[in-house]
């Protein structure tokens, strides 16, 4: 698996898309920092970008890579290599190169700006870690979609739909059900609903750092326990890791049964 990972990664590091992605983040970081000169504000804008754009790029890139390297995958399948190693290796190659572009692309301008001497460093590293995790999650989901759909157009369609659903529609339904059932105790429901969407989950993880003062304004005891103690951070992180592992397990399982 390490060998496949190595070559996929190597292949991607030379692909122009990785550079586009990297340059995009570099530029974004520079623009955010040097146009408004306010580190905390830049971190907040960055959060929006990370929560929306990173999943989108992760899904599209993951699907694209899978379809583009299909023949190569077949070549590998005929080699004495374990199937799961091939796909997990490719997956790790894609997701790690994406995560690296993100972390380095955004990290450089911020280091240059002096993030290490600022108290925003905690928030900023949390952002990068969450961004990296989201990349891992959505690339994995993309691989699952691509593995189950041999039709490229369909695969892309489902990938975009998945992103749209998790990034926007899910929250719309969530909000409506909260408002509709406002007479019932809702805090357990809303916490569970949040946990079931990796985008919401990452958002809340970041909120726990950045908007804790607002979150603590809510009276529910379950919320209080979740937000007021380390329970929130620990549980969200665990769930995010689960969100990486489940699609990984699916990749392993589906690839083991699939015909090429």
């Amino acid at each position: 698996m390490i060998k496949i990972l190595k070559y996929s990664f190597y292949d991607l590091m030379r692909s122009r898309w990785s550079y586009v992605y990297f340059l995009f983040y570099l530029l974004l970081g520079l623009v955010l920092l040097f146009l408004n000169n306010d580190l905390s504000k830049a971190v907040i804008t960055l959060m929006n970008v990370i929560i929306i754009l990173v999943p989108l790029i992760g899904t599209i890139f993951g699907v694209m890579y899978y379809y583009n390297s299909k023949e190569f995958t077949e070549l590998l399948l005929a080699q004495p290599v374990k199937r799961s190693s091939i796909f997990l290796g490719q997956y790790l190659g894609v997701s790690l190169s994406l995560a690296m572009s993100l972390v380095i692309g955004l990290g450089l301008p911020f280091i240059f700006y002096g993030i290490f001497n600022s108290d925003a460093i905690g928030n900023f590293s949390l952002l990068l870690i969450t961004g990296a995790l989201l990349t891992l999650i959505f690339t994995a989901l993309a691989f699952v979609i691509a593995l189950t759909n041999d039709n490229k157009i369909k695969g892309f369609g489902y990938a975009i739909l998945l992103w749209l659903f998790l990034a926007v529609i899910y929250d719309g339904i969530f909000l409506m059900s909260l408002v509709f059932f406002e007479d019932y105790p809702l805090d357990k429901f809303s916490l569970i609903t949040t946990m079931l969407n990796p985008i919401d989950l990452s958002r809340v993880l970041i909120l726990l750092k950045m908007d804790i003062s607002a979150l603590l304004g809510y009276t529910g005891a379950v919320f209080q326990k979740f937000f007021g103690t380390n329970l929130g951070i620990i549980l969200s992180s665990l769930m995010l890791i689960l969100w990486v592992s489940i699609p990984l397990f699916l990749i392993k399982r589906i690839s083991g049964r699939k015909d090429f």
């Binding site: 292949d11 390297s69 399948l77």
Partner: protein, 241 residues
């Protein structure tokens, strides 16, 4: 060498292999023939473990291939369409495949010379023509010294000289006592090199034997006509049904 028993494979509603029983002895060149959709590629891919059969068993030297991957160390496979990661150079690709099968001795240098690939070694794979890619593909297949070689449409895109070299190469490997499995649409090519024909029709083995036996069976004087007669009769049958 290869022993296949009662092999079934279905893709959705499409039953592709309908109970294949096949023994392939060690040594010699076997051509797997059949019309489009008769299950040639599926059969080959099943042997390689790329397609998972619904039922039946495939044994290689007496060992079942299911849920195993190490046995592929004993197979060299040439896929039909070769598309490689575009950002790697030819050299890197060769090094990579060697890396994946680390313990084998390789003859890549000689093959590169044979197909005149030196000028392309540092070029990226995405910049190569189809024929050159096929040559790289051939190098990747033949550079290992495995007892079983599977070639899926090996002649695609090759110029006449390379074509001849390929035939020589196959002959040489056969002389080493290897087993070679080939699918091809070029009948002259098959007639020239194949020791034995395996003819697939509608997911079953219609015929297995050498070329003279096929001619006798169909009553046709030459090989191409023999194949054609099988195909026509199957088409006729289709029409009747």
């Amino acid at each position: 060498m290869i022993s296949i028993e009662n092999l079934y494979k279905r893709f959705g509603k499409n039953q592709v292999l309908k109970g294949i029983d096949l023994e392939i002895e060690e040594g010699g060149i076997f051509a797997v023939l059949g019309p489009n959709g008769s299950g040639k590629t599926t059969l080959i891919k099943s042997i390689l473990g790329m397609v998972v059969p619904n039922s039946g068993s495939i044994k290689l030297n007496g060992k079942a291939v299911k849920n195993d991957w190490k046995y592929r160390n004993n197979i060299d496979y040439l896929p039909q369409i070769a598309n490689f990661p575009g950002n790697l150079s030819v050299k890197e690709l060769i090094r990579m495949i060697k890396d994946l099968r680390a313990h084998k001795t390789t003859g890549d240098k000689e093959l590169i010379e044979l197909f005149r690939l030196e000028p392309f070694l540092d070029k990226k794979l995405s910049n190569l023509s189809g024929g050159t890619k096929q040559k790289v593909n051939l190098v990747l297949t033949f550079m290992f010294d495995s007892p079983l070689i599977i070639l899926d449409e090996p002649t695609t895109g090759l110029d006449p000289i390379s074509h001849i070299r390929l035939k020589q190469l196959i002959q040489r490997e056969k002389d080493k006592g290897k087993t070679i499995l080939i699918t091809s649409h070029i009948m002259s090519f098959v007639e020239e090199i194949a020791d034995e024909i395996v003819f697939l029709l509608e997911g079953k083995i219609y015929f297995k034997g050498d070329i003279p036996a096929l001619k006798t069976k169909t009553g046709q004087p030459d090989f191409e006509h023999a194949i054609a007669s099988i195909l026509t009769s199957s088409y006729d049958k289709d029409i009747k049904v």
